[in-house]
Symmetry: D2
Subunit: 403 residues, 4 copies
């Protein structure tokens, strides 16, 4: 049985941080004694706790690394431990696994911020720069942060008021039984604030945007500068081209709603036509595609990344078929984002959610509650979900942004 000390400071009671810390300790099989406790006497004061942990050495080591995520660190300050990677694409044992929260590391006695917070990554330090890096991008010789010393994580405290609080109620629990129009208005409000702050809005789109007849509403969003980056898959681009060329989506007429058996040929013919043109941009320029989501993105010069998947037909010539390359392209668009709106695509939503720092306001809209909860279960704690119909949602968001 050994002991360690950690300090934690902040709104640690009403933001549930202290209870969670105590939970972690007990769950890990260790014991604690609260040595000092200065409680914030009123709502605006911070509290401070010094906690002594006792347990087996390896239990304590794991625990210290976990508690760091709650901002609870040993009071004595020390530098991070750096170990050089010895194999390409492989991390040293004992590497520190990141969260998506704001993080600092102590190098040569100075605390430096980690660039691009992203969960499930490692931290590489180069001179006075620290940045997250996914396992697959590690080069031999990269100096990787290991262990738990010299790392400070700033947990999100729950906002009580102000512009961020508008989101809070939506995050409480996922349900379709909520005042939906109110939620749409709050999303519109956040989008406005984000744009006013000069940050970008990312949209992650599934093909239901086309199936539900929402192209017109999305077109309006592009034309009115509410769309700054788009991530999607082959299906969105394909059915969008199908709609532009044949007026159908998965063979269902968007004007009549009548499903046509074997209308599935349409999407194959649309794929072939764009492949012949060479790219979506070329297809737009050659007049093959004259309307739709991709048409708007191309003509408004809005960057997009189309990530492939194993179920793709075709695929569209713009689709990136190598997954590591697709992730690289997506990551390159993360800096500068203020908001991410994910619509009807579990695959791309989780892929994107994995990459975003917790500071990006994230909205996941899906008619399937499982898709919405899955995102937050995977660790995207800043995300809020809305269980609703995509087709009607986009129309109503347009209305809320017009008001």
């Amino acid at each position: 049985m050994e002991t360690e000390i950690v300090d934690v400071r902040g709104h640690i009671i009403d933001s549930l941080i202290l209870p969670r810390i105590l939970d972690e300790i007990v769950d890990a099989g260790a014991e604690y004694e609260i040595q000092r406790f200065d409680i914030g006497r009123s709502h605006d004061d911070q509290s401070f706790a010094r906690i002594q942990l006792s347990g087996e050495r390896d239990v304590l080591d794991r625990l210290l690394s976990k508690l760091a995520d709650y901002g609870a660190s040993p009071p004595e300050e020390s530098d991070v431990t750096l170990v050089s990677a010895d194999v390409k694409g492989v991390l040293p044992d004992g590497f520190y696994s990141t969260t998506n929260l704001v993080t600092e590391v102590r190098v040569d006695g100075r605390w430096i911020p980690v660039e691009n917070p992203e969960m499930d990554c490692a931290i590489v330090v180069e001179g006075t720069h620290a940045r997250t890096i996914p396992m697959s991008e590690i080069a031999v010789g990269d100096r990787v942060v290991c262990g738990h010393l010299g790392i400070r994580v700033h947990p999100l405290e729950r906002p009580r008021s102000g512009t961020d609080a508008v989101f809070t109620f939506m995050s409480s629990s996922v349900s379709s039984e909520k005042p939906q129009w109110l939620m749409v208005q709050r999303i519109a409000q956040t989008a406005r604030r984000v744009r006013d702050e000069g940050k970008k809005i990312l949209w992650v789109l599934g093909p239901a945007v086309v199936h539900t007849g929402s192209i017109e509403a999305f077109t309006w969003l592009v034309q009115n500068d509410w769309v700054h980056v788009v991530f999607a898959g082959n299906a969105l681009a394909t059915h969008d081209a199908e709609a532009a060329m044949f007026g159908t989506s998965l063979g269902v007429s968007l004007a009549e709603g009548i499903p046509q058996e074997h209308g599935h040929e349409h999407h194959i013919r649309a794929l072939n036509a764009v492949r012949r043109a060479g790219s979506l941009k070329a297809a737009v320029e050659q007049g093959i595609i004259k309307r739709g989501v991709m048409y708007e993105l191309v003509t408004h010069e809005i960057p997009f990344v189309l990530g492939g998947s194993v179920r793709d037909d075709g695929p569209m010539p713009d689709v990136i078929t190598d997954m590591l390359e697709a992730q690289r392209r997506m990551r390159a668009h993360v800096p500068g984002l203020g908001m991410a709106i994910m619509v009807s695509t579990m695959l791309h939503s989780i892929a994107t959610g994995n990459m975003l720092p917790a500071s990006v306001a994230t909205v996941c809209v899906d008619i399937n509650p499982a898709a919405v909860t899955k995102l937050s279960d995977r660790g995207s704690i800043q995300s809020v979900g809305m269980v609703t119909d995509v087709g009607l949602f986009l129309r109503q968001l347009k209305e809320a942004l017009t008001e």
Copy 2:
């Protein structure tokens, strides 16, 4: 092994009636021989088939009763068999179990229509009148149709075009991946036609109408004469009163969306206040309830039936706590209906669906696909489903009806 002959006539191939008849025969373990077949040469011609069945006597008897639902009857015409009920609330053995389709019975050599087609009922003949009657309403001495002779059922043929065809595409399969705005417009179109024909529109409402903040949209529908009868349960009236009195629904502020723990007291206090007033009407007159769904129904004198359930708190004084009485009150509103719109209530939707003739255009709107499919699985073949968010649906329907 015995044999029987049935004739069937109509668009029996392209409305799938003939294949289904052959299916039934084989499924029943009988055999068939098609003795005559005059196929409609083009799309507008009727076809005719005479089919000989062979099998055990009891198999044939069951089969004849089934085939009658498809309009396939023995060519020789005979009167129905009538057996007097000997026990209150109990049918004679061998009673004919009804469908919700237009049905005729032959009494004294004349075909008379059965009033109020309703599924899972019996048919009682009194003089030259025939009407459906649920098992629980049978009186001793009622003359009940038994067996399968002398019964003609007119199956719904799938509409190809015209005003009814607008519904067809929606019935094909239940999915959230459909052009939703188009569907809303089709529902609006049907509502217009029904009202123009002088028929009534029934709404069946679940409490999600309140939870999703849709009171305002529904209010508009009442005020603009799109609502002629309402069926609901205690929960709708309770949370509507809660919203009128406290601004919350299940304790969630409808203006702020913030769920308040223990806000559940609100609905209990609202129930108590209306119980003290004596009825919803009295609560409106006494100024206790000044807005909301029930307020609009009371002030516009729109009839409503609130059917109780075993999970009710309170309940509201207007709630009918005896289920057989609730069914009687609901049935009384069925004649004259042209359309039924069911919103977010599986219990009341199925209860209502059970009572409606197949000729009433029925729309079931729910975010849960299971609720939507359950209705048609239970035999309401004329119902179409829309998997969508109720809150946004009502707002958009208002928009579609305004256009």
Copy 3:
């Protein structure tokens, strides 16, 4: 601005009670100052906090009543306020609305326990007895607890270990992605403990028990003394009788799985046959029903309550068609229950969940996650959910109880 003082004691940090209290205060728009705070120094010690609240009078009043649910009460002790009911079925204004937690009220200087804790009820005091009572059962002259003074509620603290902890992990979040066999074993373990303690196990059953072919597994449970009370609706009894008489459920052969169109007649014929017999018991005695769920209950003399609903066909003669009477019969079975297992019926599960004290271990099994979450959203905090298939669940539970 006025002030009040409340004290709270217990494992108030790691059971999240203190953070929730502070939440409530801030949400209510009041302010707090923590005047004294004795933190439990190690895991087994209790903590104590004295909190001063400031705010408008009416805010404080509402807040005091809410905080009482967390066991936070004014330090000075006073008796409850009792107000006599003046109208049958109506509570005095300002009545105290109950939780399902263990509650005490102070009458004439003595704390007395409230019998039958049930949420959304009132408390009536008669001499030295206090009991919960639903609004509809209030008689003129009943002395009803009002306000918030003299009421002590004992919040559930999260179990850390021992027999109750087996449930904890299941309550964390509802998902189908959990180790299911482990969960079945934990449920079996709890059932064993409950039976060993001489308490009863209540089953709440939906008709899916029949549809999914689980009669055999449930029969085993009855025969081996794992079923002590059953609540269900008309549908369960009807389809069970249909299965016993025709071998089908909703017209689907349980031996072959082949859905038979118009097999729906079977359930109507089964209903008629049992109505003719006069009761399920009579139908069993007359040899009309020779197997199935109801057969086992009747022959093993296990009490059951069949609550009606507005969508019932028939109904079965044993079905209680008046909802208030059905609730009374169900309530009568609550004392002595140690566990409730709810299987595939949202309606009856919520009805039952409303009545159970928080001390009854409650398991809700449904393939629809919404049904599972709805129960806990409605306030049944002691309930744990399992999203799984009912048919396979019952077979596996049998296996787990056999081990």
Copy 4:
């Protein structure tokens, strides 16, 4: 207005083929006249119809291509039209888009079968060989079938009896309210038949196999020769390695069921360990992975394809990150398959479903009904779905295969 003639022969009424053909004609806006109709007089006889179509030239052309999928072709026989591809990865305009049904093409007056039926592909003819080819694999000069002449498709007729009929009832509609144990037994029966015929069983696995604690059951299936090929993604292999190394899945202890916050590090550490080993096989050989799904596959030398996706962490060194390469590897395993069992993975199920000929018995097991229906909506008509819990399903399948 032009006219065309098609002939169709077979059980075209009771297998619904004729009604569907007439549907297609009317939906396309064309008209028909049935010129000859020889109806099968009894259940075992084939029927024959000769249908004259009238309509615009382009309508007729599209129609002829659609009708070919139902086996309705012009009576006069002609060779297929072959057009050489002029661009790599692009098909000639007017290419014939394939179904997954058995297909023949007429080349030089002889009907030759098309190898590897797969939907949404083209047909390339080389000498006397015809094979399907996906768009992306087309080379310049490939001779591609265009238009609709000289193509014969053999539609699946619904089996009435015998070993294949066991599947029929399951395909009728997707619902959790079915006799599940019966369905498990039917799946076991089909697996037995397929293995007896010397064909292979493919499993497509999602990570829920690990999350639900089903490794043990799947291990049994591998050890008893019920698993011959496996398709999965990075998540399955990752969480399986996590379970083998840490006893958790997504950080949830599989022995205790307790979710551990930050247990997500486990899967990252497992990924890193296997990446360091170089492959799953190496990790098994080095004793890093000593149990689990991948361990069994490696030690029993069962081939597997792990297809990457854009949301992958790591990924595992065996994961194929290029999607076109992953599809190629999967396709290589299709010949020889008799059955495919898809468990809890929408992405990989659809990817696989796209590749399978209609003759492979396909079972899709998922607790999400949408996942199950999506597969058949995408055109995998031979697939049957079972909405159930994966964890309990695999345990029960083991039991059914043991009997």
